[in-house]
Symmetry: C2
Subunit: 191 residues, 2 copies
Amino acid sequence: MTGARDRVLDAYETLLIGHGPGSATLDAVAAAAEVSKGGLLYHFASKDALVTGLLDRLRERSAADADAIRTAPDGAVDYYIRTSAPGGGQPGGVTRTYLAVLRIADGSETGQAVREALAVVHAEEYDALHAELADPVLAWIAQLVGDGLYLRTLTGTPLPTELTVDALLARMRRYLPDTPAGGRGLPEDPA
Amino acid sequence: MTGARDRVLDAYETLLIGHGPGSATLDAVAAAAEVSKGGLLYHFASKDALVTGLLDRLRERSAADADAIRTAPDGAVDYYIRTSAPGGGQPGGVTRTYLAVLRIADGSETGQAVREALAVVHAEEYDALHAELADPVLAWIAQLVGDGLYLRTLTGTPLPTELTVDALLARMRRYLPDTPAGGRGLPEDPA
DNA sequence: GTCTATAGGGTGATAGAC
DNA sequence: GTCTATCACCCTATAGAC
């Protein structure tokens, strides 16, 4: 049985991703986490505290993910693109938390803290990609492609049917100086 | 003096982009548009109608922008990337409307209509890029890079200081089959 | 056409029992 | 630690004056 605190954060993430910030009320979060509203407010004294808790989780997971990017067996770009694509995130990984936090990055007062946390995540991702790619512009392009995929997930727009992440990666690999050996048997790029 | 209807939509966009959907209440929109709440509700009978009005504007502007992409003097990619970068959108252009609509793309009932409108925009952009680039995967990469820049604008994350849109475009141009002649005197890529 | 006033529903937060 | 009950507030939408 996982702790109530984590269940609450999981529920908050799920509601933010699936139904947006307007539906992620304290009542709805408590219900989804199977806690009473009072129980929720025992763990997180206010809605701001709930947001702060989610940001803390984001920072933890982002740091762990930066390591995962650096040590990914098929290379940083492969890992980053795959985890950015719709459905690519693991439960418990950064991706879900990141997508949830994106939805509360508004211009409000607490939104400021959210944006600062996101800036840190972006910088960590970039550094991890840069560590493998050396070329700053190339690292940036790789990150932007991944971020574009995040935006697709965010809006729920399906990927064009004739385009696959494998094809995307195969093409990007062409532009990269030299990714670590082997690979996972990607299809050859037909173009 | 522009019509009240357009002023209301402008104000709604501004609030969505600057302070998020939670702050874009009818009161706030009316105040920002310098109309009374009753006056606002005369033009848009409900909040849903306001959203619908914004989606209509998005569709109009997206169609116009797809043409602009196709006829851009420095090429489709140049145009798309530049208008996607933070600060690249013109007032009255798609970019602002698009960024505003992104914020209301939740999983609610009206959110469904929002997501469908966004899917149309994405498809139109892709087709316009594809028309110039021929290669589908390349068109997709160009679009994703632009979308990554949108995500940066959305979260307010500043671009890494050593990275400029000009450098990004110079590098991407290398990968493109052959962009229309001339260009705007872009700096040579130092790498 | 544009406004004021108000009804009705929902949200965040507190108090206090167990 | 977790729950129920309740308050004060804000938001959407309507009714009706001008």
